[in-house]
């Protein structure tokens, strides 16, 4: 007897979560299976819609306007601009991200010292916008090699930002090891534990503010690496802001990304509130069915447990999330063995320039307008399977800065299409 649901979503990243949310909100009985930590922890926590055209034009001010010129193979063309807007409205509804007040892209500084175009940003990053002309002080932590504030500041100046920016480096109050993980810093601030500063005990937030205060000249905002709390980021920023007399923001960083993890937590909570079942920790390894998938099998402690559903959403990620796999012979989709178009010769998978036009970046399944994967002949592979997110091909999210938006839009489209089939 299989575990049953109306819609089964495979994958717990941005696309899978959005898909399950859209489905649950339509009142369907939905179950989400997530195997491992999603790639959200690798991502900056920013949600990009479209920053550059496939030809590299940009940064784009209006992502929606540019979407209409994308090639037909692009997932945005598949779902249409209206669906992208609806999907973003859902995202805005369940998160407290900023940027939804306008169609215009924002430019945000990141730990690499550049600015990048994005459409939605966490509140923690809002005071850091590069189009805000208030002067900024960036504060780095001496033992945090991932964010070198003086270097980032001089790089931002070279990028021509419309404000003065300086970088300073401090030793974080408290006796953390030089190789402490970002979560250690976050926890210290979350709990506001007492730390010893020159022999006196002080709460961590106060100690941090006092360490930065003498460094502030006339800047109205101060940016830190994204370590300001995991559980209570708003309270931490408010406390620092009050004690320093400036706006406080976080600069998005690489993995492990606290803003990415916070977003993941928020979306899982929203999905839970919407009444979906969520199971994590075990992989889907195979399926049973022909043109109609009857059930998939989840590997648990060596046994294969069947999960039946009427509709399936494949949101297992791309090359990074292992939803698309490859070996020396070719590229494949491991669960349903959906067709993944790719050049036969693996030496045609990449460009010789590090930031060249890499075919591998576009590897993924092709779908029709209802998000159903297509075979090599262009036929629908299964009548009740849809694909969403990075498992899709036909776009280069890294170059376009379109990853978050495509995942949300296609996840939404796959979920709503699945519900339509049910009714």
């Amino acid at each position: 007897m299989a575990i049953e649901s109306e819609v089964l979503v495979v994958g717990g990243g941005l696309a899978g979560l959005t898909s399950a949310l859209a489905t649950a909100r339509e009142g369907a009985d939905v179950r989400l299976l997530s195997y491992k930590q999603s790639t959200l922890r690798q991502a900056s926590g920013l949600v990009d819609l479209l920053g550059y055209t496939p030809d590299g034009e940009g940064p784009l001010t209006d992502p929606y306007a540019a979407m209409t010129d994308l090639p037909d193979s692009h997932p945005y063309s598949t779902v249409g601009v209206e669906t992208v807007r609806e999907a973003m409205a859902l995202f805005d509804d369940v998160t407290d991200y900023e940027g939804g007040h306008t169609d215009t892209n924002a430019l945000l500084p990141t730990h690499g010292g550049t600015v990048k175009p994005t459409a939605r940003y966490p509140r923690s990053a809002a005071a850091g916008l590069a189009s805000d002309d208030r002067d900024a002080l960036l504060v780095g932590i001496e033992s945090m090699t991932d964010f070198d504030a003086p270097h980032v500041a001089s790089h931002l100046e070279a990028a021509g930002v419309p404000f003065d920016v300086r970088g300073e480096t401090i030793q974080f109050p408290g006796d953390l090891r030089a190789d402490a993980k970002v979560t250690r810093y976050a926890k210290l601030l979350d709990t506001d534990s007492e730390v010893a500063v020159r022999g006196r005990k002080r709460p961590a937030r106060e100690a941090l503010a006092q360490r930065v205060n003498p460094l502030i000249e006339d800047e109205e905002r101060v940016g830190f690496p994204a370590v300001l709390g995991d559980d209570h980021p708003a309270a931490i920023r408010a406390a620092l802001s009050e004690q320093m007399g400036v706006d406080v923001f976080e600069v998005p960083m690489g993995p492990p990304s606290l803003p990415g993890l916070r977003l993941e937590d928020r979306l899982f909570a929203a999905l839970d509130e919407a009444g979906a079942s969520i199971e994590t920790g075990n992989p889907v390894v195979s399926y049973e069915g022909d043109e109609h998938v009857e059930r998939v099998f989840v590997e648990k402690n060596g046994a294969e447990i069947p999960y039946a559903a009427e509709q399936f959403v494949l949101a297992t990620g791309g090359l990074v999330g292992k939803g698309i796999e490859s070996d020396r012979e070719g590229v494949s989709e491991p669960i349903f063995d959906c067709h993944v178009p790719h050049p036969a010769d693996r030496y045609d998978w990449f460009d010789t320039e590090v930031f060249g036009d890499h075919p591998f970046a576009g590897f993924g399944v092709e779908t029709d307008g209802r998000m159903q994967p297509l075979s090599a002949d262009g036929d629908v592979e299964f009548e009740n399977v849809r694909a969403a997110g990075s498992v899709l091909g036909g776009y280069d999210f890294a170059a376009e800065k379109s990853g978050g938006g495509v995942s949300i839009a296609t996840g939404y489209a796959a979920g709503t299409n699945a519900v339509e089939e049910l009714r």
């Binding site: 430019l107 600015v115 001496e142 090699t145 001089s154 590090v354 890294a398």
Partner: protein, 575 residues
């Protein structure tokens, strides 16, 4: 001629620095020029094998005897560059028994300690060997880090007064009155100061004698003075695995062939190699079939290689040479011996000698012979001391240390750091500031990066070969920008950015040959980190100006300090 002869050495590989160190220790004035970074040519592109000589024990006993002798010397003078892994020659059922016996007796004849082990013994030493191997001969092969060795030699030469100029390409030989009297070099000042005595521009370096130690490039130097040096460059591929599948050097026990060796090297294992003659040492095809051949053939010895993850492949060019009257057609038949070509005796062109052929393992011996030859020219009677004097980093040093107490580093990072730095560990790692890890894959700390920057300036690839930072599993995905930040503020942002771009491109170059499976996944992640998060593919610094005013300026929440509506914390996800 001054009282002390001035010798110009061309080539910053193992042979060149070995000669520079030897001559400098004998009290001569030495200037060494290298067109790229140290090890830029063949030395930086070898499989890291410290030969026992077993490999040549049947085909070339003279080379084998030299190898075992130098193997013992290097263990002594370059202990911080050597890992004595031991090696085996493994026989599969289809390999010839007669050859196995020849190998064994060859080793004995050349004084190479060798003993036969059974299948069970071999597999208890190396459990991942194929189940159906028959037996093996155990020999004292080792692994050696060519980068570290060359840097240590160059450092020692400098301590003895030599001038080392990298990124300095010889554009002409100065010939006056039918004699070589020096060089003309072009200093290519790349990003910032590398190890430049002189930045940019051309320089004439006059010398009493010139030594051409450019290996596969020797013919080009010869052409500048109209002498013919028929080096026959032969390329070979090396494929790097992401872990050490073996801890012993594994050789296939059969006559020469492609894909017959696995060398454990630091955190990786290196598969080698092929032997294909090429026209041009700088421009030759790097082909897929070579990589596939390594994996498929060596899987016969170590089956797990078939499914294992490779992190990159690279190619090197052997500077093979044979006297004009031999005429081998197959590069595998060309001797691995080295030749000292005195152009006075050979071409009536006094003032220069070229050294060609040879092997990395015997670099010091080659240096000694050519230094004897040069000293003979000037009637100088000075003994060679390079076989007794340890290299910087290998003086009296033991890795049995308590890193936590000494350097505040976690044990694995401390151990790796001390293995790399040898006796220099104290001066490098003892700092008053926090010493966080910059490259997590290889356990390279800030102090070690800063030490390398102190040696080599703003060239991050030079920092890389000194420290191994960015050479691990993630191939720089996580640490390239951190390495760049370590250059700042000593170097200005624009210089840092160019050095960073150079490093990103260099790391990409070799990964392209490993793009499938987990490494393709890693490459996509790196691409996402560098392009999506850091936007380095559209970096506005150095690009077109951005109209910042046309983008979102945010919503004024009035949540600046002191505002009354500071949100109470929204609990678990109050953000």
């Amino acid at each position: 001629m001054g009282s002390t002869p001035h010798i110009a050495v061309i080539g910053g590989g193992s042979t060149g620095v070995g000669i520079a160190r030897d001559l400098a220790m004998r009290g001569l004035d030495v200037t060494l020029v290298e067109q790229g970074n140290l090890t830029h040519g063949t030395t930086g592109r070898m499989h890291g094998l410290l030969h026992s000589g077993g490999r040549y024990a049947v085909s070339d006993q003279a080379s084998a005897t030299e190898c075992i002798e130098e193997n013992r010397v290097l263990r002594d003078i370059a202990s911080h560059c050597v890992e004595m892994t031991g090696g085996m020659f493994v026989k599969r059922p289809e390999d010839s028994e007669e050859y196995f016996q020849e190998k064994l007796s060859g080793c004995e004849e050349c004084g190479i300690p060798a003993k036969v082990v059974s299948r069970e013994e071999a597999r208890s030493m190396e459990p991942h060997l194929a189940k159906d191997i028959e037996k093996a001969i155990v020999v004292p092969d080792g692994a050696i880090d060519p980068f570290r060795l060359v840097v240590a030699n160059a450092g020692s030469a400098q301590e003895h007064g030599a001038r080392i100029e990298t990124h300095s390409k010889v554009t002409d030989l100065l010939v006056e009155g039918g004699e070589v009297v020096g060089l003309e070099v072009e200093h290519t000042s790349g990003p910032g100061t590398r190890v430049h005595g002189k930045e940019g521009g051309k320089e004439e370096i006059r010398a009493d004698y010139v030594v051409n130690a450019t290996g596969a490039w020797a013919g080009r130097i010869g052409d500048m003075a109209g002498v013919d040096i028929a080096v026959r460059p032969s390329k070979g591929v090396m494929t790097i695995m992401n872990v050490r599948q073996v801890d012993t050097v594994i050789n296939r026990c059969r006559p020469k062939g492609d894909a017959d060796i696995v060398v454990p090297h630091e955190t990786t294992a290196i598969l080698g190699t092929t032997d294909e003659e090429v026209e041009d040492p700088e421009d030759y095809p790097e082909e897929q079939w070579e990589v596939d051949l390594m994996i498929e053939t060596l899987s016969e010895l170590v089956p797990m290689l078939e499914e294992a993850r490779t992190i990159r492949s690279f190619w090197g060019v052997r500077p093979l040479y044979e006297p004009p009257d031999v005429g081998s057609t197959d590069p595998t038949d060309i001797t691995r011996d080295f030749f000292l070509l005195d152009h006075d005796e050979r071409d009536d062109l006094p003032g220069m000698t070229s050294i060609v052929g040879g092997k990395f393992t015997t670099y010091r011996m080659m240096g000694e012979q050519i230094s004897d030859h040069v000293c003979g020219k000037f009637g100088i009677d000075a003994d060679c001391r390079t076989a007794e004097e340890p290299l910087p980093g290998s003086e009296d040093f033991s890795v049995l240390r308590d890193y936590m107490d000494e350097f505040g580093l976690r044990s694995p990072i401390g151990r790796r750091s001390v293995e790399r730095l040898g006796s220099r560990a104290d001066e490098v790692l003892k700092t008053d500031s926090p010493n966080p890890t910059v490259c997590e894959c290889e356990g390279v700390t800030r102090a070690e990066i800063q030490d390398a920057i102190g040696q080599s300036g703003s060239d991050l690839n030079a920092v890389r070969i000194r420290t191994r930072a960015s050479m691990g599993n993630c191939q720089g995905g996580i640490c390239c920008h951190r390495m760049a930040s370590e250059l700042h503020p000593e170097y200005e942002e624009g210089v840092v950015r160019r050095a960073w771009d150079e490093l990103l491109q260099e790391r990409w170059k070799g990964q392209r040959h490993a793009l499938w499976g987990q490494q393709l996944s890693q490459a996509m992640l790196n691409y996402a980190l560098h392009a999506t998060t850091q936007n380095r593919d559209h970096d506005p610094a150095g690009g077109d100006p951005v109209d910042f005013a046309a983008f979102d300026t945010g919503v004024d929440h009035g949540d600046a300090a002191g505002a009354a509506n500071v949100a109470a914390d929204g609990g678990r996800n109050g953000d």
